[in-house]
Structure formats: structure tokens, C-alpha cells
């Protein structure tokens, strides 16, 4: 069995034969998949599916590999909720399109950042957990990330998930869309014409600077800056992929490189230490 991490999900997608009439995505020998590659893989499927590709997804028999996980994909079963919390989550699921029971699609709207942030904090509090920096940090990170998608992606849906890793002592927040992407977003502003000849990594790095992404208007352009600085203040890490490249921020370093595959939009993961 193999595991899918952010280190190999690009190569995994690159191996899918997209020239085939019905491309095969072989998950039959996958024994583990992290939140980021799960979101990335989902958006890979969605992006090409919207353009007419119908995939054949091979999975191991139920009970083997990640088949159960993929079949259920219920957040509560991975988060060890109390019975009350499960009940509450199901209520959310019925009431709202942005439940956290699952890998969920988030609908772009002006209030969606605030709504998802509230749900994430509620879920963690119900489960008796918090991250370093408390729920104020979570509020800010989730709101800014989701709001950033709603403002810039030009897609109506993003995929979001949260997972707690008790033994590794961190919470993972993964969010992705297959929309405009960072380079294309910046290229809409003539100030960044020079990026046309640059790699995606340069656009990602630039987008993390304040007042870059506001397209020349007087307001905007602090969201990703706030996410980056809040994640670092919590002792966490931030990983962003857009187009062909990625940037990872941790401690006092930012590392850039290639994903091994080109996927439009932005896919990212924030890892936050738990307390």
C-alpha cells in the first residue's frame, strides 16, 4: 500500500492518462491519504470532470485501504466526537451547505468566511480541543482563507476539510478551488504584467505580501498576509499550491518548488499545533 502526501500527489495526478477517453485513477493500493492530497485529488477530478472527462476510480474492496474512509468521509468519525457533538454536527449538516461532517463544498458568498470559521471553532470546542493561539487564531485563519477564495477564485465552489491528528498534535485545515489561481489573479493588474513570464511560485510568494492582491483598489490585499503571520505566530506551517508550483512557509523560512503537476486554482493546507 502507498500513502498520498503533498510530496507525491502531483506525481500521482501526472500519472493519470488524461488523453484516455475514460482516464483511470487507481486508488486500489492507497493505504493513507492526507487532507491536502485529498482536496488536491478531488479538485483534479472536478476540474477535468467539468471539462467532460469521466474518470474510472479504482478502489480497494470495502474494508481495505482507504475505501471505507473515502466512502464515509464523515468528519465526526475521524475526530472522535462525543455523541452530543455528532448530533450537533448532523444538525449543521441538515441546516447548512457548509457542514464539517465531511469534505464539504463551500459556496462563495460574502459571509461564508465568517460562517465556516464559526463552525470550525464550534467543532473544536465541542470536541474539547483547541490550537495554539486559541480560537481567535482559528477564527482569523479560517475566515481569511475562505474569504480569500470567495473574493479571488471566480469559482462558485471550494472544497474544505479539517482533520485532527492526535499523535502528531496538530490540526490540518485544507482548502482548495480550481478557479483563477494566484498568477492569473495578479495578471489582471497591469502592475504585475512582468509575472506573465514568471513561474507560479513567484506569484504565490508575491501574493503573501500585504496590499498585492487588491488589484489597484484602495482596499484589500491583507488576507493571505494575515493567514501567514497568524499561522507562524501559532508555530504552524502553511503550504500553498497554485498552477505548477508550491510555497511552504514554516518557522523563518519559505521554500518554493514544483508540484510535479499543473492544476488551476489554489490549493492549500494550514497545520496548527494543538494544545
Amino acid at each position: 500500500l502507498i500513502s498520498l502526501y503533498r510530496s507525491n500527489i502531483g506525481a500521482f495526478c501526472a500519472d493519470v492518462d488524461l488523453t484516455s477517453e475514460r482516464p483511470v485513477v487507481d486508488l486500489s493500493n492507497v493505504g493513507w491519504i492526507d487532507p491536502f492530497p485529498l482536496i488536491y485529488l478531488g479538485l483534479f477530478l472536478r476540474y477535468h470532470n467539468k471539462r467532460g472527462k469521466y474518470f474510472k476510480v479504482r478502489k480497494a474492496p470495502y474494508g481495505h485501504g482507504i475505501s471505507n474512509y473515502l466512502a464515509r468521509m464523515r468528519f465526526c468519525e475521524r475526530f472522535n466526537f462525543s455523541a452530543e457533538a455528532i448530533k450537533r454536527e448532523r444538525l449543521h449538516h441538515l441546516e447548512s451547505s457548509t457542514s464539517l461532517n465531511d469534505v464539504v463544498d463551500i459556496e462563495s458568498s460574502e459571509d461564508v468566511g465568517e460562517e465556516v470559521a464559526r463552525l470550525v471553532v464550534e467543532v473544536l470546542l465541542e470536541a474539547g480541543h483547541s490550537v495554539r493561539g486559541g480560537h481567535a487564531a482559528l477564527d482569523v485563519i479560517v475566515d481569511e482563507l475562505v474569504d480569500n477564495f470567495a473574493r479571488h477564485s471566480q469559482e462558485s465552489l471550494a472544497a474544505f476539510m479539517m482533520q485532527w491528528f492526535p499523535s502528531k498534535r496538530y490540526v490540518s485545515l485544507a482548502l482548495g478551488d480550481c478557479g483563477l489561481g494566484m498568477k492569473s489573479t495578479l495578471l489582471r493588474n497591469s502592475d504585475y504584467e512582468h509575472l506573465a513570464e514568471s513561474c507560479d511560485a513567484e506569484a504565490i510568494t508575491l501574493s503573501l505580501q500585504p496590499l498585492v492582491s487588491c488589484r489597484g483598489s484602495a482596499l484589500g490585499g491583507t488576507g493571505l498576509t494575515d493567514v501567514k503571520e497568524t499561522v507562524l505566530a501559532c508555530g504552524g506551517s502553511l503550504f500553498l499550491a497554485s498552477g505548477s508550483d508550491y510555497a511552504m512557509i514554516q518557522g523563518d523560512q519559505i521554500r518554493t518548488g514544483h508540484m510535479g503537476f499543473t492544476l488551476p486554482g489554489v490549493q492549500l493546507e494550514a497545520r496548527l499545533p494543538t494544545v
Partner: protein
Amino acid sequence: MRLRIERLVSATLGRKRGREAYEALLAIDDGQSDLVISLDGSEAYSLSFLDEFLVRMNENHLLRRTTFETDSPLHIKKLGRASEIRNVTIRRSIDGRTEVVTPVPGPTLVETSSSGPPPEDIN
């Protein structure tokens, strides 16, 4: 005039709320009095909220009449960050006196590039 932030807005995340807070402030401002706004009624301030609120206040000359009240180091740091990014002067009151919030620069990151696959951890 003294007021608490929750009189202006119910949540302090995002640009929409920043705009709402500004509009609520305009509705009660008399155009002359000094304003003292307590920030301690909310735990989480996003930079987007503060940026929207403060830039609009600055454009309409309200910021120069405003002093923010807070003891929270997190809130003070966020105000300092907003001040540095927008190059605006923000005042806060501490122990009965007023001082200018010190602008806070962002972290300096060492950039490296890699030809290998993405890492799980940098270190």
C-alpha cells in the same frame, strides 16, 4: 464619545464587517468629538477587518480623532501591523494616557527553492 466595538458590529472578521463597523460609526459620530473605541469586546480581529475599518476612518479624517482602548497584546500587535502596512498613525490609551501604536513589521523569511518534491516539513 466612548463606545465599545460591539456597538458597531457583531463580529470583527472580514472586510464586510469592517465596512459595517465604519458605517455604524458614521451614523453616530457628531463630526467633532473625540472618539474612544474599546476593542476588548471581541477576541478575534482579522487584518482585513481592521484594514477596512481603519482605512475608511483615515480617509474621512475620523482616525485622527480616535483613540483605541485595549489591554490585549494580540489586539495591540494587530493594530501595529495595520499601522505599518497602511502607514497610518493609530492611537491607543493606556493607564489614562494616550500613545501612538508602534508599527509592527511582518516577519522576515529566508527564501529557498527546491527542485525536489514538496516537503512535509522544512526542517
